[in-house]
Subunit: 285 residues, 2 copies
């Protein structure tokens, strides 16, 4: 057992999976859940993701040695502000957000003296959210990035790292800016690219035929991320703006290159660009 009481705020896909995985593996004596949506909380309790449901942030805070904020990013400071006064003095606060610099900057000032902050990002999403999608194995074999900050204690770091390692994840440390820049490219940009493709193709018609209907598995792959929860990605766009705009600029340069090759009917150039794209994808495990 690593901690006594762990409280998870936001029992959706990631929070619900973490609660369930920690319960199943006995890493905490008790796993308390809190969620803005009563129906999520009821589901989490009745399906055993959590051992107890808290009715309020204050109740969720009571006696929590480890708090994991797993709400959309913008909601995290509000939730922690409502909990802070009720948390035990040595509480460790962590989160699961896809953006780390903004989260650390907003959460750190809300901690009381003896509390620690361990910003973390389990890279373990899927496009379907909510507690019904939760699974105990979500973190096995996945990467979890921890971005220590001035308010990270050695003890807090040890606990959060041990939780994820126990669940089979590969834990990696880096600074928040590096994380945000990497994820803007590897995760946030692909989301924007998928949403934009759905937006472009959704209304596209030729005569009485919808273009969407003539796609195969490639189109389904390329728009699957568009099924993600809007609120989650709205918050990422709002809190990781500059890195995301840099990643988007790179993408637009690559689209410019492809467009020019098509416009010019440049056969060798097209073959070379397509082959280069293939080699890059082959590197991806």
């Amino acid at each position: 057992m690593l901690v006594g009481r762990m409280t998870v705020c936001g029992v959706g896909l990631v929070g619900g999976s973490l609660a369930l995985a920690v319960r199943k593996s006995g890493l905490a004596r008790e796993v308390v859940g809190f969620d803005r949506e009563r129906s999520n909380l009821d589901f989490a309790l009745s399906h055993g993701l959590i051992s107890r449901a808290a009715d309020s942030p204050a109740a969720a805070a009571q006696g929590a040695e480890l708090v994991v904020l797993a709400t959309p990013v913008l909601a995290m400071p509000k939730v922690l502000a409502a909990m802070a006064a009720h948390l035990p003095d040595g509480a460790v606060v962590s989160d699961t957000g896809s953006v780390k610099a903004w989260v650390a900057r907003k959460l750190a000032p809300l901690l009381r003296g003896g509390m620690a902050l361990v910003p973390a990002h389990p890279i373990a999403g899927k496009e379907l959210g909510g507690p019904a999608a939760a699974e105990a194995s979500l973190f096995a074999g996945r990467r979890v990035i921890i971005t220590p900050c001035a308010r990270t204690s050695a003890d807090g770091l040890r606990v959060v790292e041990a939780v994820y390692r126990s669940l089979g994840a590969a834990v990696e440390m880096m600074d928040a800016q590096t994380h945000d820049e990497l994820l803007a490219h590897a995760s946030h940009l692909p989301q924007i690219a998928a949403t934009a493709l759905a937006l472009a193709l959704g209304p596209a018609r030729v005569g009485d035929k919808a273009a969407f209907e003539y796609g195969a598995s490639g189109l389904r792959d390329m728009t699957r991320l568009a099924l993600s929860q809007p609120e989650l990605w709205r918050d990422v766009c709002l809190t990781n703006r500059e890195p995301l705009l840099r990643a988007l600029a790179l993408y637009r340069e690559a689209l410019d290159e492809m467009q020019q090759l098509i416009e010019q009917g440049d056969a060798p150039g097209l073959a070379a660009a397509l082959a280069r794209g293939r080699r890059m994808r082959e590197q991806l495990k």
Copy 2:
């Protein structure tokens, strides 16, 4: 049995699958294969995709009642030109290209008097090509679009339609321009979007870390099409240029919209656009 001898030129994924499916279902008495790559042809013969391998276009043409061109699009006129003088007078020529107006325009003048052309497009790709990826069930439940032209005969149309229907495909007729415009959006644009994403992210590094390494299933989905065969898509870009550029313009408008919302930090606008993208994707079966 629908035809005596069928010849498939290009025994890769689609041609090899068609040959195998026709053999297995006994739709033709004999299925002859031809391929520029001797190794593909040997594989097709030794794995039973075809019943006989032809050494040259002339040999492939001998006695073929139905010829299916399943090479990359640009190679089709060359292959047919080399075969035409050796084909029987009533031969039916079909193809499997992702582009139809260009193919019909280039192939029609190569036919001799009694021959017919039935341009067709089985929408049944996957990113892995070659005869090793061939499977008899590739067409079951898939859409096959036939785009009749001035050189399409009623008999030829009946045979090609019957072949695909017998293999479980849903056959649909439309004009070549409509096909090319629809597929530019539903298939060719997603390919360009995937290749451009691989090109943009492949070299992206933050310090000593490659951005590519930090992606999850979303990034894999969004770049899977980049694994496709460069030659195939080079030809599509060269032969369906105007419709593809129109589709690309639509995509860039949608990316512009997302970029502006991110730049402006427009929370309700971002949530609305993401929700609209999700609704569009939900329509996709």
